[in-house]
Symmetry: C2
Subunit: 296 residues, 2 copies
């Protein structure tokens, strides 16, 4: 990190993006209008946190990226080692101390037809921006949520860019002055948020929906469950509802939020309406893991 410009010199105007073999000024970073990512949502992505030049769980993120590509039958654009180098170089050119690396792969560009030629070169873009953090107010008072019956597709286990339903969910949350929309199935089970996973504390146990086609296997979700297990907290991956007696806390997890309390849902308090102790503990464990990276 010593060779990079200090953060203060990095304004949005001089960020650099990787696009299909070249590093270019982000403001000039483009893809063809017939890129299948633009016309068909025919692609997948990852968002990785980078703390002081160290990537948080890059391995699991790249494992999932490969699984997502395989699920939609898109070839990885390059060997994994090369991808890791490109990610590192993208950060080095945009060396935010806390960075958010965005990686997107699409099937490539071709004259528009649903069935793609099998000769396409996949598109790869990588950007590095400052990692957003929850506001002090959200940390102190918790985030607010609404629930929406899930109208997304049935392969939410694939981290695809076909995110319009999630956008509509987030918009609806915003219209209701809430921070996040959480999808529920027809039986009222809480699945995940539009861009987060959600976990509850029920009778002292950490409960979250099991991995299936209805939820994304979030890397931060997985880290949180691991941290909980190591701390001796019981974990249950099972369908759950908001009206279960014994539900005392909810929390959301994501790369950009780490672990964040959710203190109201559909305008009603969750538990006592304040960030709960288990949420606080898991957030501290997660931040400690991130700070460990900083000190590496």
């Amino acid at each position: 990190m010593s060779s990079t410009a200090p953060l203060s010199e990095k304004s949005p105007e001089n960020l650099t993006a990787y696009v299909n073999g070249d590093f270019v000024a982000l403001e000039n970073a483009t893809v063809h209008i017939e890129d299948r990512g633009f016309q068909f949502a025919d692609g997948v992505y990852e968002v990785v946190a980078c703390i002081h030049g160290h990537f948080l769980d890059l391995g699991p993120h790249l494992d999932r990226l490969q699984r997502s590509c395989a699920a939609i039958d898109v070839a990885m654009p390059c060997a994994r080692a090369q991808l890791e180098e490109l990610i590192a170089e993208t950060w080095q050119r945009n060396p935010f101390d806390d960075a958010m690396i965005y990686i997107q792969i699409t099937r490539g560009a071709a004259p528009r037809a649903h069935l793609a030629p099998d000769t396409l070169t996949p598109t790869l873009i990588i950007t590095s921006r400052e990692l957003p953090r929850p506001s002090d107010e959200k940390l102190a008072c918790g985030a607010s949520g609404i629930t929406l019956e899930d109208f997304r597709w049935k392969r939410c286990d694939i981290k695809s860019i076909a995110l319009l339903a999630s956008i509509m969910g987030k918009q609806e949350a915003h219209r209701q002055a809430a921070d996040e929309a959480f999808w529920t199935d027809a039986d009222g089970h809480v699945l995940e948020g539009s861009s987060t996973n959600i976990l509850a504390v029920i009778d002292g146990k950490l409960v979250t929906h099991p991995l299936d086609h209805q939820v994304l296997g979030g890397i931060t979700r997985s880290m949180t469950l691991d941290l909980a297990r190591k701390a001796g907290i019981a974990v249950e991956e099972r369908p759950w509802t908001l009206d279960e007696s014994g539900l005392s806390e909810c929390m959301l997890t994501s790369t950009t939020n780490a672990v964040l309390p959710v203190c109201s849902m559909n305008g009603k308090a969750v538990g006592n309406g304040k960030p709960g102790p288990l949420t606080g503990k898991l957030r501290q464990l997660m931040l400690a893991a991130m700070e460990d990276l900083r000190r590496t």
Copy 2:
């Protein structure tokens, strides 16, 4: 049409696209990598046929485009009259005698976050390419289909670019050496194809799934139903299954296929396995309507 270059001079290299206010060489037509169409499938589109410079049902296409934009809360990028002028100019610059006009609107470009700023300028792209036509073999022998249980989102009435499920459906059809994948609901009702609508002839009536959130209100579907009614053919919009007794024909409809017989489904013959008379009649009526445009 007199001022335009003859078709033979239009090669893929010198096509022109409209992108956000400018006409540019298609090969250089790009959007920003942070366009929300590319990162979130946050956009909608239309495909319009243009016969000898006359657009086929442009009004209904633009009505639907406005409905799609409204459904996802994206502003139209310009007034309708101006959009019509841009579409006309795009064709004039790429004056295929039978042209396929592609129009896409996205919410615009912004640093990636699910919740978009409400100040974005929508992205508008328009292209004109040669209208593909079904091959003689497909017309003579009919298209083949497979059925897949629907795993798309629950707002298929919106003509959005979040098309990854449809791409996966088309790929699966291709793997099974079929032309199209048709989505079925949990009860086996046939909804629509991955890029087409589907209609059946059952007991001499033209039957197709009613308009709801599971199907797109296809313009060619609607034209076909209108032509049938005018020709005295009974039309029923109701859920239907492939194993109904009395089912003698299937046909698909789309801008690029007009009306096309579907003569096999999941490897089994539909009816007697040959293009049926009602399909043939409706195709001829549709082609006649298109030829009427040519003579306008």
